[in-house]
């Protein structure tokens, strides 16, 4: 494709938007597919697949626990109606009602549902709008406009400056300034350079990156291509978690379609810039989310971390300078280029600019994916998800196995990098698990420690042996067999693991324990006495030690 052809496509898409008729979109995210969305789509296509009614499959619309979700809207504008738990019958009935002007309220989500209307979708702007399996649909929604702009009007150093100016920080967890990282790779003296997207979303309860990769794969490819242009790389890798087959399939398709259209590959948009992307499928190792382990895995080795420095920017894949960013970070790039660094910085709070995608699950009315400005209070997020189900709010776990918890007394905490750190937790990748008052906090700590024990790569002793010992101590505590002495030992061990482990997995493994101890020490102490668990979880479910 030439630049003029791409511009022509954008123009046609703008005109097509004014066409009359209904558009019906069926969410084809994996939770909706698991509950039968493909059957709904097929049924609607058979019944209404003509010109007056456009029927498309899209990416995730957000409220996963209400899936399959179907949206019906007027193509020429007007508000969209969302339908939950759609079946072929209910979906057909809803479309009929819209066509004939009958009552459309059956199965319809309230138009003012906080989950939908209080979001600010930047990264997920096209998720649930465009067809993830069609490049044409992406182009209709302004896809690759940022790449075009960068290649026509900006020098690589200007791109890095723009990203720095936006205040974007890494969305994978650590929050390192993205622009600074790009600048380091750009100025690195390296024969070849690589760009890597980390889609190894291993934190249990996190599914934001899966959502983006499944819903808008071209957004990721565009972000990576812009990064490659900015840092001077010609080869990229996307490392996708093995448990996400749908994301892998859509990415593979997107890469080949974009390559055929000349948006990836050799001489992109007929310029001297070439960039190819290869997909690597993970094989089920949480530690591969750590960047040095991830690189080892891309090179076909065991995913064992090595000590940094040297950082990947200095010495990464095949000893060359390598830029590694999280999938969501790449998802922020195109909007920053399109709408400017100043606009991006105006969203969120100082120090944490832009939006963040959270996957909210656990004891809430609506489980799903929501994108809000950074700094939005936790209370607001819980309210958007329809409040706590089956009880009152007890705690929220942020940052997964490397994060801590936020108790009810801090519900007004703004969700930004610094506020979460000050509470002993971390932003992490954005998994948010809400727990009601029937959940046992030492049991949660034991769960995360067992997880880290399973996932420890075994390279360094503090993590390999520490997670095992800590998990056993926690098992004794939740079984009601522990003493004061065991609790003291656990705390000492946690501090030791944090100080002495080689990589982030071991260093952060004690965080859930320390976090729950900080806010819920009384629960630990109650477990030391007879009669044990205040929430009744540990007495009810006596679990074997290995679970």
């Amino acid at each position: 494709m030439t630049r003029d052809e791409l511009r022509e496509k954008f123009r046609c898409a703008r005109e097509a938007r004014t066409t009359a008729g209904l558009r019906i979109s069926v969410c084809l995210g994996s939770p909706c597919v698991a509950t039968g969305a493909e059957t709904v789509l097929r049924a609607l296509r058979e019944s209404y697949g003509d010109l007056a009614v456009e029927v498309i499959g899209t990416g995730c619309m957000g409220p996963c626990s209400r899936g399959p979700v179907v949206r019906i809207e007027d193509r020429s504008g007007g508000s969209a109606a969302y339908y939950e738990k759609a079946t072929p019958t209910t979906a057909r009935a809803a479309v009929r009602a819209h066509l004939k002007g009958h009552d459309t309220s059956q199965g319809r989500l309230p138009a003012d549902l906080p989950f939908m209307i209080r979001q600010q979708r930047v990264v997920l702007a096209n998720s649930g709008i465009c067809d993830p399996e069609s490049l044409a649909s992406t182009l209709e929604n302004n896809g690759y406009a940022a790449l075009l702009q960068v290649m026509e009007k900006m020098a690589p150093e200007e791109v890095c400056r723009e990203i720095s100016g936006s205040g974007l920080r890494g969305r994978g967890g650590a929050g390192y300034p993205t622009g600074t990282k790009w600048e380091l790779v750009r100025t690195a003296n390296s024969r070849r350079k690589y760009v890597v997207a980390n889609g190894d979303e291993g934190d249990p309860g996190a599914f934001m990156d899966r959502t983006l990769m499944e819903s808008d794969p071209h957004r990721l490819l565009e972000g990576m291509a812009i990064a490659a242009y900015a840092v001077g790389a010609s080869q990229g890798f996307i490392y996708v978690r093995g448990e996400y087959p749908l994301a892998a399939r859509r990415l593979r398709q997107a890469i080949s379609e974009a390559t055929r259209a000349g948006l990836l590959g050799r001489h992109i948009l007929e310029s001297g810039f070439s960039f190819t992307i290869r997909l690597r499928i993970g094989a089920g190792a949480f530690v591969c989310g750590e960047e040095t382990a991830l690189m080892a895995s891309i090179m076909g080795r065991r995913g064992q971390p090595v000590i940094r420095p040297p950082y990947p920017a200095q010495r990464g894949l095949w000893a060359q300078s390598t830029l590694i960013n999280n999938v969501e970070t790449f998802g922020c790039i195109a909007p920053i280029i399109n709408q400017g660094a100043g606009w991006f910085r105006s969203i969120g709070v100082p120090g944490s600019s832009g939006t963040k995608v959270f996957s909210i699950s656990g004891d809430v009315a609506t489980v799903g994916v929501m994108e809000v400005p950074l700094g939005t209070p936790l209370r607001e997020l819980v309210a958007m998800a329809g409040g706590v189900s089956n009880g009152s709010f007890k705690a929220a776990q942020t940052g997964g196995a490397s994060g801590g918890c936020i108790p009810a007394s801090h519900l007004d905490t703004p969700m930004d990098y610094e506020s979460l750190t000050s509470l002993g937790s971390i932003m992490g990748s954005g998994g948010l698990i809400i727990m009601n008052d029937q959940r046992c906090m030492p049991d949660m700590a034991r769960f995360f420690m067992r997880f880290c024990q399973d996932e420890s790569c075994g390279k360094c002793v503090p993590c390999r042996a520490g997670t095992e010992q800590a998990a056993q101590l926690l098992h004794r505590i939740t079984s009601g067999d522990a003493t004061e002495d065991d609790l003291a030992k656990l705390e000492e061990l946690c501090r030791f693991m944090h100080d002495a482990s080689l990589c982030g997995l071991g260093m952060a493994a004690p965080t859930p324990v320390l976090g729950t101890l900080r806010w819920f020490r009384d629960e630990y102490e109650a477990h030391l006495r007879a009669g044990g668990c205040p929430a009744g979880v540990c007495d009810r479910e006596r679990k074997p030690c290995h679970l």
């Binding site: 994996s30 939770p31 698991a34 509950t35 996963c64 626990s65 899936g67 979303e201 291993g202 934190d203 249990p204 309860g205 996190a206 599914f207 899966r210 093995g242 448990e243 996400y244 690597r280 499928i281 993970g282 094989a283 089920g284 190792a285 949480f286 895995s297 090179m299 076909g300 080795r301 065991r302 995913g303 996957s359 699950s361 656990g362 004891d363 489980v367 799903g368 776990q397 997964g400 998994g431 698990i433 727990m435 959940r439 949660m444 769960f447 995360f448 997880f451 399973d454 996932e455 790569c457 479910e541 679990k543 074997p544 290995h546 679970l547």
Partner: protein, 171 residues
């Protein structure tokens, strides 16, 4: 690669492996991709197969075995004819996923990660499938099974398994 049931003869499988190696140009860096594909062809990665791949990729057998045994996705033993995976991610855990696994272990008399002696069934767990809205859940062969209570969910798994066995349909 087509799934392993589609290969009729040992020669078909060997051809598929040669094709995989050619696709990756015998590049040792592609070891993980090769293992993924080889596992699809054979269903699991036997010692003999790993040895053959090591030779073809010109890698030490210890390194190939090390990689294959490091990652959870690679199976060194054959799976049962039907396979159940219980999600033990955080959301599933708080809603009883761990208790479900214990219950299924009890009902089938095998531990997580094991295969029944007659090879009919195997049980495993996974840390989060990312479909937390359906928590708690189990995956039997390729179908997600979800229910409100643990007992009901365990019953559903047993029921689906019985249906599969009675129709004689392989996974």
């Amino acid at each position: 690669m087509p799934p392993y049931e589609d290969y009729k003869t040992a020669a078909d499988r060997q051809n598929a492996i040669e094709q995989i190696l050619r696709q990756h140009r015998h590049n040792p860096d592609a070891l993980i991709e090769v293992l993924h594909s080889a596992q699809e062809v054979y269903g699991h990665l036997s010692r003999e197969l790993l040895g053959h791949l090591a030779e073809q990729l010109k890698l030490p057998p210890s390194l190939v075995y090390g990689v294959a045994s490091f990652y959870h996705a690679f199976r060194l033993e054959p799976r049962g004819q039907h396979h159940c995976t219980v999600c033990t991610g955080t959301s599933c855990h708080i809603k009883g996923g761990t208790a479900l696994l214990a219950e299924l272990e009890r009902r089938f008399g095998i531990s997580c990660g094991e295969t029944a002696p007659d090879g009919s069934f195997s049980l495993d767990s996974v840390r989060c499938l990312g479909v937390c809205d359906l928590a708690p859940l189990a995956v039997l062969d390729d179908a997600i099974i979800s229910a409100e209570t643990i007992a009901a969910l365990a019953d559903r798994v047993c029921q689906c398994l019985a249906e599969k066995n009675s129709t004689g349909k392989s996974p």
